[in-house]
């Protein structure tokens, strides 16, 4: 259960990071706190949108979904069920792959690193690892 709690807290952190980037991109909060200046280069690059949708908005919705899933998985009737853990692992796994692609773009195409994107990457990898630990817990309990 501790894994799902930690995943919920990480999802909430990721939600705030994405919200911050999205509010910045839509001009709602002024400048971005980013020492290197790389955040702006990344946020205003052509790759800051996927199919016309802001990547930060995709992150916002994705973290909101993960957060709801984690909170649902913490309900007493769900704690010992395998489905929420599988779904969490699948969704966070897809998000990790997407993050790897975005990090590749930052490093080799845009040539700039956004610290907030790195923070989000750490968060999503953390959620994925926690979901694997949760699956291992259920496996050991033969659920």
């Amino acid at each position: 259960m501790i894994h799902r709690m930690a995943a919920a807290l990480l999802s909430l952190s990721g939600l705030f990071i994405s919200a911050y980037l999205y509010l910045y991109k839509t001009g709602k909060i002024g400048s971005l706190a980013c020492g290197t200046g790389g955040c702006e280069a990344v946020q205003w690059s052509p790759w800051s949108r996927v199919a016309g949708i802001e990547v930060s908005l995709v992150g916002l919705l994705g973290y909101a979904l993960l957060l709801l899933l984690c909170l649902a998985a913490l309900q007493p009737s769900m704690v010992q069920r395998r489905e929420p853990a599988l779904l969490l692992a699948a969704l966070s796994g897809i998000a990790v792959l997407f993050t790897i692609y975005l990090t590749y773009l930052e490093l080799f195409v845009i040539h700039a690193i956004c610290r907030w994107c790195v923070a989000s990457g750490v968060v999503i990898v953390g959620i994925f690892i926690l979901s694997l630990f949760d699956l291992r817990r259920l496996h050991r309990a033969r659920i």
Partner: protein
């Protein structure tokens, strides 16, 4: 079971603290004042203009000159700049038949109009006035509804490859506030009350402002001048 309940209680407390802290930070960011502002109604000093009378494109020997008084946040100016100007530029300005002069006329009702004018003026320092001018109009929808347009203008400057250090110090100094006000005052003196307003060879011109109408007008004035 009791241990689980205590654990859940601790989790919800921690979750609540994190949620409140995150919302508080975002709330603060949304409420904090704008980063750069350009004062309105400043007293114009002679040094503000130093002979400046608008941004000009086109041949100095063109037989017709049109002066446009416009506001970057005005939707009609945006439509004119993005839909009509490319044709006017191709047909008339590049062919040496028309000289275009752009002057700022930031209306009070538009909170970012002066800031946009100033951003373009700062881009002018680095030889990219028209590029920044075009970009500000092209993306009007993006910045006009923003809480703070200054970072968006800065990003346009960055995309155009401007030296951001110079751009930032120019924007923070507000050094062109007087020049923008001088443009505005000159428009008021000529009877400009709305945007865009065109002066054709110095005369206030009211009517349709599409590229076809302007082409006909330039044709007619060119014929008159030729006689």
């Amino acid at each position: 079971m009791a241990a689980t309940q205590a654990g859940m209680k601790r989790f919800y407390v921690l979750f609540g603290v994190l949620a409140v802290a995150g919302l508080a930070v975002l709330g603060y960011l949304l409420m904090r004042p704008s980063t750069v502002s350009i004062p309105a109604n400043v007293v114009v000093q002679p040094s503000d203009t130093s002979g400046f009378a608008g941004y000009v494109k086109g041949s100095a020997t063109a037989p017709v000159e049109i002066t446009e008084y416009a506001d970057y946040q005005c939707p009609f100016c945006q439509t004119f700049a993005t839909l009509q100007m490319p044709t006017i530029e191709e047909r008339l300005i590049k062919t040496g038949r028309l000289r275009w002069r752009y002057r700022d006329f930031p209306l009070q009702m538009h909170p970012f109009a002066r800031l946009a004018s100033h951003s373009a003026a700062c881009a002018d320092e680095q030889g990219k006035y028209w590029q920044q001018h075009d970009r500000i109009y092209e993306r009007q929808q993006e910045w006009s509804g923003a809480r703070d347009a200054a970072p968006l203008f800065r990003n346009y400057a960055q995309e155009l490859g401007l030296d951001l250090g110079r751009y930032d110090s120019c924007m923070e100094s507000g050094k062109y506030a007087g020049r923008i006000q001088a443009d505005y005052n000159s428009g008021v003196a000529l009877g400009v009350s709305s945007t865009p307003t065109l002066l054709v060879n110095g005369r206030l011109h009211r009517g349709r402002f599409d590229s076809d109408a302007i082409t006909k007008l330039v044709d007619s004035l060119t014929r008159t001048t030729a006689r």
